[in-house]
Amino acid sequence: MNLNEDKNSVDDESRDSRPDPRSNQKEVHPGQPLGVAKYHIYTHARHALGGHESVKAIYQKLELLGPLQKRILGFLGNFGSGKTEVAVNFAMQLGLAANIENNGVEGPIRIIDLDIINPYFRSREAAEPLTEAGVEVVMPTGDKFWADLPIILPEVKGLIKRTDGKLILDVGGDDLGARVLSHLNQDFPLENTTLMMVVNANRPFTSDLAGARKVLSELEDAAGLKFGGLVSNTHLMDETSPDEIRRGYEFTKKVSAETGLPVLMVTAEPRLIDNGTNSGIRTEEFDCLLLPLYRFMLPPWRRDSIRSG
């Protein structure tokens, strides 16, 4: 037998079915099914969408807090401080608020995923629930969604210079992640920007005052911009108790006393917030916004994780 005549060898067929590396270059819009995006989080979107009461309460308090009324709100912090969860939740709540008429929040609400550091657990993973909540997610699309590349989208600069709506920045971890801002810092309307440092006192390097101050100045140096406030995000994942939240808030207040930066938010998972039966924390305990924080960045074995949605 002449092997050369056997045109339909297994090899040929198998090669023909190789994926075309260019096939995923097409635009994939958030909100559309992302095909093989298996690392996404759908979970709490519906909870959050139903929670208009908390949204209203948040917004009322927000009015009291001038720095949070700025158009551009950026979240920075050291690795694992919870920047992304805070940014995603805050954007989502604003998105929901913007959907309620006459409450003063003007759309469009946009969130930019500026995380060039870590390819895991980024805000782009919450793209679907954010979109459902009316938030425009600015992130790399197509196969670059999963890329371990420092991608800064060309539209970012334009979005910073716009004057409408609100812009939430989810900046990557540590001074390394904050570097992204240094390349954009000429474009920021400083009078209309508040950058916040997210503080988790249970994380290495920010577990004491000296550490938190050091990280703060490293972040400011790297970004070439100054902070306008602090976010108390102390927690221990599932082991967090209401007292842990209070302890973290006290710690952030100490950072505040040393730096002069106001504590603008304290976060807590909804299960830790007083609902009349659970003896959780109460809004009036804090001189700042209490942001109910739904966890979107969950490991895949969690039943409440995305993929269960």
Binding site: F121, R203, E239, P300, R302
Partner: protein, 351 residues
Amino acid sequence: MARILMKGNEAIGEAAIRAGCRFFFGYPITPQSEVPEYLAKRFPEVGGVFTQAESEVAAVNMIYGAACTGTRVFTSSSSPGISLMSEGVSYIAATEVAVVIVNIVRCSPGLGGILPSQGDYWQATRGMGHGDFRILVLAPASVQEAANLIGLAFDLADKYTNPVMVIGDGIIGQMMEPVEFPEMTDPKSFKEKPWALTGAKGREPNILTSLFLDPDVLEAMNQRLLKKYRQMEATEKRWEEYNISDHMDLLVFAYGTMSRISKTAIDELKQEGIKVGLFRPITLYPYAYEAASALIEKADKLISVELSTGQMIDDVRLASKGREVAFFGRQGGIVPTPEEVKSEFLKLVKS
């Protein structure tokens, strides 16, 4: 000590410090870069020496050199980098010095992708490099266990003067969980190693080599290594049993991230009255065949669940003595949901 919140990769770095390790040599690669980044920041506080090598090839030979002085040393990398290190690991195993290697596995052959996978099971458990050797392989399923197993890895590396690998997938490296560390071990508290290269002062020179020209001598070296591996097999097998009962509808084999997804599915099936047990190997080599065999006798059906096309299933088959073993796995960085796994289990139980 209080519990703090750490990423798997950071916990690995801190656990190595607690174990008295002060030397790290490595090359950046996603998704393990937090290990060197954590150490670059943390080592100066404890007098450690962090070195960024020019490649994984250089990194593994640097830990080889450091290990020749008898000190505790480690490196970390991810799949393609581990392939580059395999030459050096063969030399280290043959020379019989102690190193710890961390592999935070990423997906698919070639450059593949950066998402989680368990596709390096064969590479890790079947000798890894050229020649005829074994390395101990430990597979954590949580951040706390990653920290614990790093400590154990250093002890075992010293005990057997052999490479020990701690293998996790990208999720184990990247996720955050509360973790507690043991007290600091003083690096000066370790016993002097008479074979180490420390300068031939007042003694005959020490020579560390893997070259033996005389076939009889070389065979004797292989036999000595084999004896060591037999001892590991006799004493170092570790595993976890979950939801085991005398008569199980299904016995699941899974490790690392897949074991945690399986547990979620098993818990739900338990509520529905379906008895599914889990055998989770903690040492991938040596594999606890006997313990697995004992459980296999109590189960109607068997399945291996992996983030690969089916690698650990080879070991399950060795333990199952001819019984049929089903397989479920995802690849390409896709991690199945608990629901997906649960429906696979149900399908098998009902078939």
